[in-house]
């Protein structure tokens, strides 16, 4: 028997006045998959996620999570999903550990896992700290711990790194990888291309309420057939020498950086290596931003 998809979304519609916030969205998420919905602000990611969680009613289309309908509020589904919301939604003036304990009780489970959860998200040292005193990154990690306290099969994360500084984002990424490694299905929305590329096994790129493309980030980039851009420090070899040796490739030199653009970077790297000119080497392939640019014809702006 084939394993049913954990989440199935078919032709989802949501209209706010004249705005088609979600306009025919379809995707599936397999059990244990780390799935990302990626797009600029206002693309309809959060609305889509809220319909899938059961917070909003769709105007059209079908949603099934773990074989159950999330709307109307489904008490059989709720214990099996974990939700971290955009804002840090905590009770006033409770400590980190008390927050987890309270959420555990709301799910009817003991708070034995509270310490385990604090450790998972790296907040053991802040167990007795009131949530008002936590930093943005700590609060975000605590809200994820609260979402995991009842050991859900599916975890929904809405813009978990939204307002975090780069270091806090990296810490959170480690936490999310650990959670995914436990075999849980994770669905995340983000407007950070790099985040989706680093974390997600598959992403759906969304814009103006529609999904433009779905697939593993690496495959999407490869399909784009975007040329690699090789850069080294100027001076070792001249641009003319490079053009002579690598006739198929585009070569520029601005006096600081020598840049070679090539579909196949191999021969260029071999030649540069042979001339001992690899100082300051960087090779940049396509990114999801390039995919977005190609799909929409406009620059990606989160």
């Amino acid at each position: 028997m084939p394993v049913p998809d954990t989440i199935i979304v078919r032709d989802l519609q949501k209209v706010y006045g004249s705005l088609r916030a979600v306009d025919g969205v379809s995707f599936e998420v397999a059990a244990g998959e780390f799935f990302g919905i990626l797009g600029p602000n206002g693309a309809g990611k959060t609305t889509t996620l809220e319909i899938v969680e059961g917070l909003r009613e769709a105007d059209g289309g079908e949603v099934s999570v773990l074989g159950l309908q999330p709307w109307p509020r489904n008490p059989r589904l709720l214990p099996r999903i974990g939700v971290q919301l955009q804002a840090s939604s905590f009770f006033e003036r409770l400590t980190a550990r008390e927050q987890i304990g309270t959420f555990a009780a709301l799910y009817g489970v003991g708070d034995k896992r509270a310490d385990e959860m604090l450790e998972l998200v790296g907040l053991t040292g802040q167990a007795g700290t009131r949530t008002e005193k936590l930093s943005g990154g700590q609060a975000q990690r605590l809200s994820i711990a609260c979402a995991l306290v009842h050991d859900p099969e599916v975890l929904f994360l809405d813009e978990p790194t939204g307002a975090l500084d780069p270091q806090a984002r990296r810490n959170l990424w480690d936490t999310l990888r650990a959670i995914s490694a436990e075999g849980r299905t994770v669905v995340l929305t983000t407007h950070h291309m790099d985040e989706a590329e680093l974390l997600c096994e598959r992403v759906a790129i969304m814009d103006h309420g529609k999904i433009l493309l779905t697939g593993p980030p690496a495959a999407l980039i490869r399909e784009l057939d975007y040329p690699s851009r090789i850069t080294v420090s100027s001076g070792r070899v001249s641009a003319d020498e490079a053009r002579g040796a690598l006739p198929e490739m585009e070569v520029t030199d601005d006096g600081v950086t020598l840049a070679i653009t090539a579909r196949d970077p191999g021969p260029a790297l071999a030649w540069l290596s042979g001339r001992g000119a690899l100082a300051g080497l960087a090779v940049r392939g396509g990114t999801l931003e390039d995919v977005f640019l190609k799909l929409t014809g406009r620059e990606y702006r989160a």
Binding site: E53, G54, L55, R73, P75, L78, P79, I81, V83, L85, Q86, A87, S88, S89, F90, F91, E92, R93, L94, E98, G101, T102, F103, A104, A105, L106, Y107, G108, R130
Partner: protein, 352 residues
């Protein structure tokens, strides 16, 4: 632990750890009680101050009676001119001198009530002396009786009024602000995504509000019954407990309504103030209704607070029995039921 218990505990912790809400719901009303209680404490037994010019044997004789000493304070004046000056300035209420069998009383009409009291007092003093001079026992005597408990003091209307105000604002602000802030920070949505029922969330909030109201009642009783304030609880005082519970439910529903129709904490606070403050004046919490103008007495029947104030007053200070509690409880619960129904219809989990 059940969802209900853990939510109630979380709300109670949040309340107890917030110095602001503790001050607002407990300390401030208690401060009002202590201040107003102290100000009005002596007002039930006004004392008349009299300056004695030269020797006034009749007066000296009179103040030997303990009863008269309680209402009459006699000081000696250096001269008649100084005494009259004191009367004019209001330092004493009257100056008195005696020539032979003639008593001369100097008073000021600046304070007509006091001057009336002084004249009546001296008139009865002279009459009593005349009667005594006849050597016969008095033909008539007067006994007085207050219709309220003989010990009725300002604390007995101040304490129920201020307590009702404290309970009303505690329940209203607690419900309104919790609701709005939980909606604003999306905690309500988060709770909606847990298996906890709406009933458990509502029951937790009701439990915490009732607990706070009962603590307010206990603190008020403890302070008001100290010898200093001297509140004497009458036989059925504990009937105040069900009235306080009904009142807390009413104001909880008002807070729920205020929180349902406002979007920010500031707006919820402003709306709750707009409801509670005028009601405190019009419902007899700050000023006893008996002293209020007729129109306020009429308007007060439309104020839920009135029923809390008068209900508590009747059973706690006026010595009335459980039958006096029935009407206030019925009215308060009726208002609570109607407002809760309206609030539930207007309730939103979300800001959009």
């Amino acid at each position: 632990m059940s969802a209900y218990r853990s939510l109630a505990r979380a709300m109670l912790r949040g309340f107890l750890r917030d110095r602001g809400s503790l001050i607002f719901t407990v300390a401030l009303p208690v401060l009002f009680l202590v201040l107003l209680g102290s100000i009005y404490k002596g007002s039930s037994t006004p004392q008349v101050k009299v300056a004695e010019i030269g020797r006034v044997p009749l007066l000296d004789q009179a103040v030997k009676s303990a009863q008269l000493r309680a209402v009459l304070k006699v000081s000696r004046a250096a001269s008649q001119a100084a005494a009259l000056q004191e009367v004019r300035q209001g330092d004493v209420d009257a100056a008195v001198s005696q020539r032979g069998s003639r008593l001369i009383l100097h008073y000021s009409i600046a304070d007509q009530v006091t001057s009336g009291v002084v004249r009546a007092l001296f008139s009865s003093l002279v009459q009593a002396a005349n009667q005594e001079a006849t050597g016969k026992p008095p033909a008539f005597t007067l006994a007085t009786a207050q219709v309220e408990d003989t010990s009725l003091k300002p604390i007995q209307y101040l304490a129920p009024g201020l307590l009702a105000w404290a309970i009303a604002s505690g329940a209203t602000f607690g419900a309104a602000i919790t609701l709005v802030s939980w909606r604003q920070k999306k905690l309500l949505r988060r709770l909606r995504l847990t298996p906890a029922s709406t009933g458990a969330i509502a029951a937790a909030r009701i439990t915490v509000s009732l607990l706070i109201a009962l603590v307010q009642l206990a603190v008020f009783l403890l302070i008001a019954t100290t010898p200093y304030f001297g509140l004497k609880l009458t036989h059925w005082w504990w009937m105040a407990i069900p009235i306080v519970i009904a009142g807390a439910l009413t104001f909880l529903s008002i807070g729920l309504l205020a929180g349902s129709i406002t979007k920010t904490e500031q707006a919820a606070t402003a709306l709750a103030n707009l409801v509670i403050l005028p009601m405190a004046f019009l419902g007899g919490a700050f000023v006893p209704l008996a002293f209020a103008p007729a129109w306020i007495q009429k308007v007060s029947y439309a104020m839920p607070l009135r029923y809390l104030v008068t209900g508590v007053q009747d059973v706690m200070a006026r010595g009335e029995g459980p039958s006096a509690a029935v009407l206030p409880i019925a009215v308060l619960l009726g208002i609570a039921a109607v407002l809760t129904l309206v609030a539930v219809r207007l309730f939103r989990w979300d800001e959009i």
